[in-house]
Amino acid sequence: MRIVGIDLGTTNSLIAYMDDKTPRVIAGRGGRAMVPSVVAMTDNGLIVGDAAKEHLVRHPARTIYSVKRFMGKGLADVTDELKYFPYTLSEQGGVIRIKVGEKTYSPPQVSAMILKELKQRAEAFLHEDISKAVITVPAYFNDSQRQATKDAGMIAGLDVVRIINEPTAASLAYGLQQRTQGTIAVYDLGGGTFDISILKLKDGIFEVLSTNGNTHLGGDDLDRVVAEVILKDVRARHSLELEKYDDAMQAVRLEAERVKIRLSDEQRTTAVIELPDGKGAYRKDFSRDEFEALAGKLVERTLGPCRQALKDAGLQPPDLDEVVLVGGSTRMPLVQRRVHELFGKKPHSELNPDEVVALGAAVQADILSGGTKDMLLLDVTPLSLGIETMGGVMSTLIRRNTTIPASSKEMFTTYVDGQTGVDIHILQGERELVKDNRSLARFRLKVPPLPAGVPRIEVTFLIDANGILNVTARDIRTKQSQSLEVKPTYGLTDEEVERMIGESFQFAADDLKARQLIEARTEAHAILAATDRALTHGGTLIRAEELVTIRAALSELEAVTKGNDHRAIRAKIAEAEQVTHHLAEVLMDDSLKQALQNKKLSELP
């Protein structure tokens, strides 16, 4: 059974497969491999990718982007950036819910819509069903964020055989395709997240020595600093509060992104925004220097984690053999300069920084399906895992940068006679106090009622190869395993995931309808335009009755494209094709005649 590799990104997602011994990304119909991670909930169902991106400005309240920022998070985690999102967010059971129209969606559900789009793309390309995937996540993702990604896969009907870290995936692609060896640093600045991983590549073993990062720092934030300048300037020059216009805010955000991208190649560029209420076009020049002054602080924030990762690996910059850049944001000359300065080595990106993570995921998929046997990835857990102890202090069980799978056993007992349960609170993070760390889950250990101190329950905390925690318990006295019900602090329950899988079939039906409608409409518009052109050139070449028939068919087609029935549109397209058949022939003959008239016989092919 084939396993595909998926890079589920903040701004763009990709799917890749192993073609014999070479990983390849799968392009869509337009030839583009990247699928914008944007989902539009239209009246006619779901649209994902490039088509959805067009809805950002037209229907901002119903078009979801950057949903990865919400994965495994509660509402309180994102309060700072709520103002940037046009849709209504709420929280239920520790999980953010996105309200669109009458419906609410959890972030894994929205991610599942993107995954389904990728899955369909691969199925169309490979002519087979796809049900297994390796999905990448930022290395610094915590347990809840990883679990949410796994849930998204399940909702999309995919068996997520492995979650792997983005920078390590990139290193696999480099190891395979560039034969990279030695100690390398992978600097990965994507659309929404930043990771740094230090690895040792030797004899096919990819051993991660340390990792660090920030799951809330990426290209999105760079766009925001540019957008803020534009908003402020518009306020000053036009006394217009663009914040009140969701569509204009999206236009500003997208233009800010384009300004950022252009300034990677050019020294200066102009931002152009169509102002609302017919106030005309707004223009503002940006130079690269200005942009770098704005972006400087954000880029600076990636350097601390780099230093920490080096320290945790017990290395100095000269110990590194190579520095590799991954993620679209590393195209910025400022980023390249800062990385060069920090590591004292010119960073490189031989493989396309947008595609390399998906390629690596495909390599890992091949390893898991038994294809590639000589490569093995030994990754680490990015954050320390622990439990709450007396006084609200976290006691560490598994330290950050421990190679996974990793486990730790703890013995628990009772303090009161007849006590029947012990509450355990699991945490992730590097700080001393419970309140400064991330709460992962709580569970109650069931204990037989015995005198205090007599029960001895051994709890095993195991972080699997996905970086996801599994907890098991065993009564030492009876050697019986104990049942545990772990309640995630920030995550969907199993029942919710089940329900969402069911709902996704409904979405799938809507989805297909929407896709068929869009395709039919696009084709209808093309025919209408082509026939219009044909009539201006060849209207005089056909009989009057025929002209009337054609005009009638066209107006019927035009009318039906305004509706939502793709079958009706298809029928009218067929009709229009039929009645214009003669016209096309006449035109063809005519153009042939003209071509012949203007040429001598000898010039004919």
Partner: protein, 246 residues
């Protein structure tokens, strides 16, 4: 602190949880796979880390040898190679890999290695505490005062700079001290290995062994203390949060 030692590196058989294969019930003769049905076998829960990595119970470890053995065993046990296998085999692979990773992580680091040896060998005397070195008592008291003064400094630039200079000097002193401890620890490693090589049986030369272990425990307790105040000092100087996980 690692010395390469020419030890009698005889091949130590890995200890499996059971002598019979969980799958076909035949006697397990292969290293970690059943000789009959080639199914992976669970490592014993009681397996010590030295045996797990095929090493004698010595403190001088050649890191290249250790790494090579770790990579070899990783290729045998890692869950990546058991994706298409049964759930039981997946569970065994997961458990074995986790144990292997812990073993490697512990033995790779000289201090953790010594702490682990104490746990294995010293019974009740294994607990490493957090005790100040007796001969450094005065300096430590003075450092605490300096730290307090620096933290509660009025914000006057001259005053702050003055305390800072003092703390930097304290830091240098402590770091030198730590260096000295590490040298001493390396000496104890050699001492242990010499006795252990002469008498590998657990009961042989026990009093001599216990003496070394006791000395090592004192040293490690002092070192732990020194590390924590040094961490505190550096965090204060750099103005960040104290990261207790070094």
């Amino acid at each position: 602190m690692d010395q390469t030692q020419n030890t009698s590196n005889k091949r130590t058989e890995l200890q499996m949880a059971r002598s019979m294969c969980w799958h076909c019930q035949s006697e397990v003769t292969g290293e970690y796979y059943c000789g009959q049905c080639v199914k992976v076998q669970p490592l014993s829960r009681e397996l010590d880390y030295f045996t797990c990595l095929g090493l004698p119970r010595l403190l001088g470890i050649d890191t290249a040898t250790l790494e090579a053995k770790y990579y070899e065993l990783s290729r045998a046990f890692h869950p990546d190679f058991f994706q298409a296998k049964t759930d039981t085999e997946k569970q065994i692979s997961l458990g074995n890999s986790a144990l292997l990773n812990t073993a490697y992580g512990t033995l790779k680091d000289p201090v953790q290695r010594a702490e682990y040896l104490l746990k294995l060998e010293a019974g009740s005397a294994k607990d490493i505490r957090n005790t100040p070195p007796a001969d450094l008592f005065e300096e430590i008291l003075e450092l605490q005062e300096d730290l307090e003064a620096f933290r509660s400094a009025s914000g006057d630039a001259d005053e702050t700079a003055q305390y800072r200079t003092k703390l930097l000097a304290d830091r240098k002193l402590l770091e030198e001290r730590q260096q000295a401890m590490d040298t001493k620890l390396a000496g104890l490693f050699v001492k242990w290995d010499t006795i252990q090589n002469r008498a590998p049986q657990p009961d042989a030369l026990r009093p001599q062994k216990d003496d070394v272990l006791k000395e090592m425990r004192e040293l490690l307790s002092n070192r732990t203390y020194l590390r924590s105040i040094l961490g505190d000092l550096i965090a204060t100087l750099e103005g960040g949060h104290a990261d207790r996980r070094h």
